[in-house]
């Protein structure tokens, strides 16, 4: 297990370095950052002064290591637009995104896994059919439309929940429902197909042949093998829920990271965009690494293979 984990962590570290280099390069993607900061009306002397003030005149490798070094101690630079540390802006926004993402993820798992199992136990039964309808509609209906419709119906007509914002916990109800609705289909389908495959194996028949009750056959023998593919998918899904909620955050007027990224992009506030991309990319690396380790905990064959 230890060699497996250290190997995985080493790979993760390499990916982190690549990711950091790419997000660093973003700064230079739009041309000379000094001119970008000086603004379109800025004079050449201003740009030159900015270049020296920000250190853009130094060799790029030096700039990169300087940037990585300060990122490691929690300094992601200054926002050009707000002129305050990027970490401070992100710190104000990240709570909303994390709350929304993790709750939606949890809700999606709680719905998708039991539904997937129930569908697998009776393929083509009525639960399976309902599950299929949910899956297909979840993939066919655009999320902004569902978000807007739910606001109209539950916020405007019935007035059950706030129309926008996250001032109270009720503000999270609709966004969580809409967001998790999109995570459910894939999670459910992979649970269902994994479960159907596992239920057909000889070791499940052997477990039944030992006289174990069906409840134990499923929980001890089937589920553990069926969730292996689910773990990797869930990690990616969680990453998407934490990073890809720009649309939902905009529709529900939630001040999260997704919205911040979008606004900063419009304002050409590159240090903020850069920091968000870096954080989300590192988050993906962290999640997939955790998923791999969790899979190795569940499946001894993976540990042996390392």
């Amino acid at each position: 297990m230890i060699p497996f984990i250290s190997k995985r962590l080493f790979v993760a570290l390499c990916v982190c370095l690549t990711v950091s280099a790419l997000s660093f390069a973003l700064m230079f993607l739009s041309g000379d950052p000094a001119i970008a900061i000086a603004g379109s009306g800025g004079r050449a002397e201003d740009a030159e002064a900015i270049r020296i003030a920000y250190g853009f005149d130094r060799p790029i490798v030096v700039q990169y290591f300087d940037w990585v070094g300060s990122a490691l101690v929690g300094n992601l630079g200054q926002s050009i637009y707000f002129n305050v540390p990027v970490t401070e802006i992100i710190g104000n926004r990240v709570g909303v995104t994390l709350t929304l993402g993790f709750i939606s993820f949890f809700v999606a798992l709680v719905v998708a896994i039991p539904l997937g199992i129930a569908a697998a136990l009776r393929p083509n039964g009525w639960i399976d059919r309902i599950a299929l309808v949910i899956a297909v509609s979840g993939q066919a209906i655009p999320s902004f439309w569902l978000g807007l419709m739910s606001i109209v119906v539950f916020g405007v007509w019935y007035g059950w929940v706030p129309i926008s914002g996250a001032a109270s916990w009720q503000g999270y109800i609709l966004p969580v429902i809409v967001l998790s609705y999109y995570a459910v289909p894939e999670l459910m389908r992979i649970t269902r197909s994994g479960m159907i495959e596992v239920l057909g194996t000889d070791y499940i028949r052997a477990a039944k042949a030992k006289g174990l009750p069906m409840r134990l056959v499923i929980s001890r023998h089937a589920l553990r093998n069926a969730v292996l593919p689910l773990v990797s998918l869930a990690a990616v899904q969680l990453g998407q829920l934490l990073s890809g909620s720009i649309v939902i955050e905009s529709v529900f007027a939630l001040n999260g990271l997704g919205r911040l990224a979008w606004e900063s992009l419009l304002r050409s506030d590159l240090p903020v965009v850069q920091a968000i991309i870096l954080i989300l990319a590192l988050l993906y690396v962290l999640l997939t690494t955790l998923a791999d380790i969790l899979n190795a905990v569940l499946d001894p064959r993976l540990r042996g293979a390392s």
């Binding site: 194996t201 000889d202 070791y203 028949r205 052997a206 477990a207 039944k208 042949a209 030992k210 006289g211 174990l212 009750p213 134990l216 001890r220 023998h221 553990r224 093998n225 569940l298 499946d299 001894p300 064959r301 042996g304």
Partner: protein, 327 residues
């Protein structure tokens, strides 16, 4: 009188399919006495595995099963609830499978898989169950058994895994062991070892074995009784020596054309090909199912019911000609 472990009469198993109801098992009679090894032989698709699964109570939910008698160790299984049947599994009857690499759960330790059944059914403590597992692993020829309990299946070879499966099946001290082609997936030398092990265990433990196989060499090596199955029915049933000496059913005669002799026929001797094809099992069928492939068929062979002939204790043939020849 020797105790009857399994007594089945007129077992029928039907499965709904897209093309209609598949009558896969169409009235099977089987009897196994204590200490006997009954080999069930027959072509692929004739219903051997479904017969075994119905004894285990492990048929798919949609399968329809009926029988006139279904008794195991003196108990009527047809009157039992699913919960009571589950209690008998592992304790009265246990099963080993064809492919030992897929019959062990890859994510659980050997020890867990061996002990989980008896810890529930007999209420054994972890220590007692481990002790029994170690004893059985030792008995089936797994070296250093105590250390193996904490290992996972992927570290073992196919032959070792089949030994572990046998040990696992014996944990509940069953009276009847069902083995569905237990050596097909193994190479020849390992096959011989596994068969020898089964034979030894049988005499040591007074076990009865129902062994399903395609391999007449396996039959010659281990069977005390043989039931020849054709298209969902038992065509002929006899002691192994009688069957090899004087096969009566034309289908059995066809199978034995390779003249397997107990102790002489090498293992790996597959059933010889008989010209013609097995009839489809969808819908009803009248008369003898083998008549289209039979060299001696008569017009009466299409009549129902096909006469049955009992030429001696435990012997049984279902054939017009065989019945007439003797009367």
């Amino acid at each position: 009188m020797i105790e009857t472990i399994l007594d089945i009469q007129s077992l029928r198993v039907s499965l709904p399919t897209d093309r209609g109801v598949l009558n896969a098992v169409r009235g099977v009679d089987l009897q196994i006495k204590r200490g006997q090894t009954l080999c069930l032989v027959g072509e692929s698709g004739c219903g051997k595995s479904l017969t075994a699964m119905s004894i285990m109570g492990l048929l798919p939910r949609y399968a329809q099963v009926t029988s006139d008698r279904f008794e195991m160790v003196g108990q009527d299984l047809s009157k039992k609830t699913e919960a009571k049947l589950a209690k008998m599994r592992g304790r009265d009857v246990a099963m080993i499978f064809q492919d030992p690499t897929s019959a062990l759960n890859p994510t659980l330790t050997i020890g867990r898989q061996l002990t989980e059944g008896v810890m529930r059914s007999e209420g054994l403590s972890r220590k007692e169950a481990d002790a029994r597992a170690i004893e059985l692993l030792d008995r089936v020829g797994i070296s250093n058994p105590a250390a193996r309990l904490t290992q996972y299946p992927h570290g073992f070879s196919g032959g070792q895994r089949q030994r572990i499966m046998i040990a696992s099946a014996l944990m509940g001290r069953p009276r009847l062991l069902i083995a569905d082609e237990p050596t097909t997936a193994l190479d020849v030398t390992i096959q011989a070892q596994i068969l020898q092990l089964l034979g030894e265990l049988q005499s040591d433990l007074g076990l009865s074995i129902l062994l399903i196989t395609h391999d007449l060499g396996v039959v010659a090596a281990i069977a005390t009784e043989v039931a020849v199955m054709y298209a969902g029915r038992i065509a002929e049933c006899a002691s192994a020596s009688d069957l090899f000496a004087t096969p009566m059913h034309p289908y059995t005669k066809g199978l034995l054309a390779a003249i397997p002799v107990p102790g002489v026929t090498p293992r790996g001797c597959e059933l010889p090909a008989i010209p013609g094809r097995v009839p489809g099992l969808i819908g009803t069928m009248n008369g003898c199912a083998f008549r289209d492939r039979c060299a001696h068929s008569l017009s009466r062979c299409a009549d129902d019911p096909v006469p049955q002939y009992y030429p001696g204790t435990g012997r049984f043939v279902e054939c017009v000609k065989a019945a007439e020849a003797e009367t």
